[in-house]
Symmetry: D2
């Protein structure tokens, strides 16, 4: 099979997200890095792209130039990854979808719910793929968890509890560090700090594994470092459409938690537990039985978990290959074999609605509110 | 030193709590089991007490008989443990305090806030010890955590997150089992199920380690097994007097969690983590530094942690000896050396106030409420 | 049931082993501490015994006095614990057995194989109990492991691998500390250092769980701190009577290992893993299946594991209660219900033979030798 | 930087090692997969190579054809990976080195010590890189451990203890499975089974982290499944040139251990612990201090550990990226920046010497033998 052609917007030299996407797209030999507008400083972006092996005529100065250049080529890129600053995701994603490109957009897909709904409509109208990079959902054992829920192996889900709490912004003396400060500044981060940044991954995963959507929520936000305008710690209670009770804690001042992303799902006939720092194991307890350790790569896993494992049991696979799994699913989808687990524009707009609802609820003393985008009510 | 004399009310043959108290009182050779009214069936209680080595004249048929018998003896018991059904704690504790006995009351100390306040007043008037068995607080490494907070080793506490979530009531087909059902029946359990039963230990520990008290709270309760009138899953957000943000999750349907009691405390300069299933380690991370494992029995622990360790480093000590530590503190207190960490009637009434406030908040959509007993506002 | 009467020799004020035995004997209310010769300084011993509640006429100045005093009493002690320096175990144990007392001897039971064989013969002739304090074997989950092997749940045992390696003697600058130094001085410790001190517990446990005895062994000893005459690190390979392959590593310079005692048992149809720092779990993997966590206190444990648990599932029980379990078994045995798991004089002499054989093998370049006491060849 | 050109011999369709090398070589965009002789069935190999994107004229039918085809090209491959059956490694590696290619050879590099010594000489004469794929040594935290030892952070190393013990060949009923059986058949596997297959990784790592070489060893081998001619369980004791004591256990019948590769290094002033199933943490204990968790990606790591991390702290990286790290080092070396940690032909021949010595020692009752290749004595 010939490699698909791939382009990226953003992810310039020195960024952290650029290498993650390049590795994700290339690790399995599925995509050729064919085009890019990698930096908002046009010259630097063109130069860096060429150093990464992109031909000079596809090393673009900005995304508009890339759109113009690619859309008329016979060998146009099969997929565009949008890894620019958050506030630009909407217009770039929209423009490329409208021009008939498949898009993988970094999270958050948009800054507002209205924009998110527009992307959903544009994507639908275009017939193209609009994926959002909730890459944790592509760990094999997360897929296994989702498949087990789908197969009824833990019964109807009663309760989901998830945390994404680290401590890397817990040093008040470092709070003015520009790499930290912008996250708590509404002018740059939008309406929410830690919840929009990390918590939203956890909320997506709750929906992803439970195969259900958030209907209502109540939130409590705190700025434990008082100079912060936006929250650095948040708690959400929620209810899903099917009645599942949800709890979500997210924090950036939880000193000692390194990554701190985990999820527990409790159903009528069993419980599941997964943690991103030990992603190759899924802990399963049947009601009344003993806790079992399900290993990535063991025999008898659900198909989706097996398919996304590369090396044999107990050879750990980590975060970069979870990103690569998103690209595997995208390559399949581009070739016509749609993977149902791939996060899409609907997930993106639901996240945005949850963020805005949580902000409103927290401001109003934790009152319960409808968390769905209007288009999904 | 002569042994102190100890009596117990409740804890009859076949009960789980009786052996725990007997071991706790006798393990260190501090107390002699001298009197008891062990069963509401008078004959059985008298017989069992004698089989346990209590003299016939101090093997009582009920607590009133025991009170009458003991109060005029020269060698009256130095301490009475109240381990009867919850609804009787108030009257028994009150009566023994008024008669000049030291009391260790099982939790909950009372069923209402008013009763709790009365116990506080009676205890104060009596000049006697009224302790409540929040025994988790007596694990050496919990004492170490409290001492570290007190010594400023993690700075001002910003955030405390605690869980007490197990899955032992997660089997709906077993929900009518009498040993399970009463806990969710308001006629027997009172206003709250899982929160009053387990969550309250976690809330006490948050106060205990943070050295602060809960001021306001907001709660979300759920009966995930729908036949239950009382909650089997609850989430509390709270604020302490000093501004610390609190999160508490408690559940009895978290299948796969065996005990599931843990606490994380995050301050300005460090974080702490402790879990009751690995009680001999305290995990500590200084801000900007590496996570360290503090071991029970290592050199340089705070005095209270050292004092309550019996065997050397890495020889685990478990739950029964945490109960025994409460008795150690009681023996010291009876002999005049008061240990500041011993949970007392104030802790008991604060717990009751938190339970009633949480119930009210959960019923009212999670509205924030003052959680303090009126006497402490 | 009236309490049994218990006496101790050694375990004076300030010793570590004295409190462990007192707690072990008294925790469950089975024994009354009735007599003692607690210190080689007669006055101190008598005084301390009385402060611990022993009557003046049974607070003895030395073991000979205690033997003389007790043997003619109608209410003589039912059990004597020998917790004196190692080199005195033989004569004291022998004398008390010959006088018709039940004895619990601290390990090592003797210093030579010949002495050990004599104890076996004396015990047999006396008809009395001679137990040796291999207390790790009394953890409930160790008993569960032994029972599972006995029930064939892992098939024929192919391989046992055990470690007892800590790092508490790893500081060369502390090597002259008298509390450390004697262990590596043949004049005080005998022929072996770390293996005789710690490794022998592991070797006993291998036999205990596998229900088999060591037949041959090959050893490699090292004094990694070169000033030490005896080994501070040792490796044994061995074969059991039934052909099971054994591996045993023991060290006192393994800095970072706190207790470091664990065992893995691999059979034809499954594997087991237990570690003394998390003693309440037994890890079990059926061949071709998933790893399961067996919890102390769960339903369906083997009888011996259930009997020796005090509190419910996931309430940890630790080392002091393992010692107490030895006393539980002793109380039963004294009353006529013999527990087959109780370590006895045969275990004691086998250990001695293994120590002497390992020393000889290590000196001779690891040559394989018969490790059995002559009486068991 | 233009990509380097890479070719592979072996690793055909359905093999496990092929995908691992392709991912390793391509993940970071350093190598272009330019040539291959992927299968001993020439047609299948050519076809598969072309499906993987290799040009038809560089999709070779066997290694001789590839050697002939590549050696005269101006754009000849910069690196050849040899991933063929073990017995062919020697001749292929030798031939490509002699023709002036850089080679990455899968382990074992050769079947005999003599062959290994010849490769060392050929590599030296050629001036080309001859690397051996001891890929575990390229995990960032293994590099950190090696760097810490080099910097004296744990003092002189006294003791190294390593295990590589899994249970995937523990099912005797599966022992005739061809994928398992060949490993214990001397006609196919050579002189050693489990030790040569897995244990040798552990022995290399001991040398790698300790920065020392094995001088003497004593071995105990067992075929716990008696139908096996070669060992499925082995224990080595060894001494390194600098006096360090070594212990190595390897097994394939340790049911319940999934990967089971770990190493502990104990020096005069500290201890280190690493396990391949949690490869992103290195556990460090300074003598007399608390155990610390060193995280991949934390600030202040040694340069080599930092350089080989791709994503930030607590985002796990796994086995495939350890292989990729070998390719990173190779790319650097090809471009002239030699990385001192890259395993080379000397490591390959030392491994072979250890295997043959261990076999001889085990046959001779564990006698200690010189384990060095003659050329390094």
């Amino acid at each position: 099979m010939a490699k698909l052609k791939w382009g990226m917007i953003g992810g310039g030299e020195g960024s952290q997200i650029g290498p993650a996407h390049r590795l994700g797209a290339q690790a399995d030999g599925l995509f050729e890095f064919a085009a890019g507008a990698l930096d908002h400083r046009a010259d630097l972006g063109r130069d860096y792209a060429q150093r990464l092996g992109i031909a000079a005529d596809r090393a673009y100065g900005d995304w508009q130039e890339m759109l113009a250049g690619e859309k008329n080529r016979a060998d146009r890129v099969d997929l565009v990854t949008v890894a620019t600053p958050n506030s630009t995701h909407f217009e770039i994603t929209k423009a490329f979808l409208e021009a008939g490109f498949n898009v993988l957009c970094e999270k958050p897909m948009t800054m507002t719910v209205e924009e998110g709904e527009e992307i959903v409509r544009v994507a639908e109208a275009s017939g193209k793929i609009c994926a959002v990079n909730y890459c944790y959902s592509a760990y094999p054992m997360v897929r296994q968890a989702r498949a087990m829920v789908g197969a009824g192996e833990i019964g109807k889900v009663r309760l989901v509890v998830t945390n994404f709490s680290h401590g890397h912004h817990g040093d008040a003396t470092d709070a003015e560090n520009p790499r930290v400060r912008w996250r708590y500044d509404p002018k740059m981060a939008g309406v929410s700090g830690q919840f929009a940044d990390c918590g939203i991954h956890a909320l997506h995963m709750a929906s992803f594994i439970c195969r259900d959507e958030v209907r209502t929520l109540s939130a409590d936000f705190a700025s434990t470092i008082s100079s912060r305008e936006l929250e650095d710690d948040a708690m959400l209670n929620f209810r899903m459409e099917g009645g599942t009770v949800g709890r979500l804690w997210t924090s950036s001042v939880a000193i000692g938690r390194q990554h701190g992303f985990d999820i527990q799902v409790f159903g009528e006939t069993g419980g599941l537990r997964w943690a991103s720092e030990q992603p190759n194991q899924l802990i399963y307890t049947p009601v009344g039985g003993r806790t079992q350790i399900i290993e990535k790569g063991e025999g008898g896993l659900h198909e989706d978990a097996q398919r996304l494992s590369r090396v044999s049991i107990a050879h750990p696979e980590g975060f970069p290959l979870a990103v690569a799994n998103i690209y595997c699913d995208l390559a399949d989808a581009i070739r016509g074999e749609v993977r149902e687990g791939l996060p899409n524009a609907s997930d993106g707009v639901r996240s945005m609605a949850a963020v805005h609802t949580a902000v409103a609820s927290a401001k109003d003393g934790g009152v319960w509110m409808d968390a769905r985008p209007p288009m999904f009510r």
